[in-house]
Amino acid sequence: MATIASGALVNLEELVPTSQHFKHGISLRVTGKLQDYDVETAVAVIVDRNASLKVDTQLLNINLRIGSTFQFIGELLLEPDKKAILKARVGRNMDGMDLNLYRQSLQLLRDFQAGR
């Protein structure tokens, strides 16, 4: 079994073209509330604060419910117009997760890694 890439933890609002994570093919883990889902294309839209991201959920077999919080791991694909879509390979419902605690802990985690 080939080594699988870890999905780097990012907040949606950090996914801007100048970000180190805004690269075609990069593996990411994103978290957000499901705002929209197109059954025909299996494309979902998640939002977190003022940012949103399209997620291709074709490979997943999960129940996507509008308004629930989801976490997806997959590869970021940049379309010709520089719009990003995450091709998810793993996804799960995260209802009940404390998003403020998540953001604060993520910052602590990054500081810890940077200090190694």
Binding site: M1, I4, S6, G7, I62, V90, M97
Partner: protein
């Protein structure tokens, strides 16, 4: 916790930390992190791959957001010579428990995995002894914070030889 002894303790390490642990020549079951000897580890993360070879083993990867830890769960207890000298009813129980773990480990679940650190073809992995599927979505966050606290307050402590 005795700061000197970490061997046989399931140390909670983030994946990037786990993957930087060094092997020790002539001691295949012991590994070294910042001069401390380790043999067991615990991780919590999302199962991102799963490769089952029925009645032999299951390989899977746990992604904790800082890296992926390869895990191997042996499923060959009833055919392995290693277990042939042990009580058959105990071996059956161990085999049944391993089979239950294998059925619970599915893509996308949050799993807490404990086991022995081992090396296969030069790559570190966990040889699984316990799996718990976490229902609380905050469990990953709490694991990160546990790992940070333990690294700073325990695992990173410099050892001072009491005889010097």
């Amino acid at each position: 916790m005795d700061a000197l002894q970490l061997v046989n303790t399931h140390v909670k390490l983030l994946a990037f930390d786990f993957l930087s642990v060094q092997s020790i020549p002539q001691e295949p079951t012991i590994f070294s992190r910042k001069g401390r000897r380790l043999s067991r580890a615990e991780t919590v993360g999302i199962v991102v791959s799963r490769d089952l070879k029925a009645n032999r083993f299951m390989k899977f990867d746990i992604d904790d957001g800082t890296g992926c830890i390869p895990c191997i769960l042996w499923l060959n207890h009833e055919s392995s010579r290693y277990f042939s000298r042990r009580c058959p009813s105990n071996v059956r129980l161990i085999a049944q428990m391993a089979a239950d773990f294998a059925s619970q480990v599915q893509l996308g679940v949050i799993a807490r995995v404990r086991g022995k650190m081992s090396s296969y073809r030069g790559n570190l992995q966990i040889t699984v002894s316990d799996v718990v599927i976490e229902r609380d979505p905050n469990s990953q966050i709490l694991h990160w914070l546990d790992c940070l606290r333990l690294a700073r307050n325990c695992y990173d402590k410099v050892l001072v030889d009491p005889s010097t």
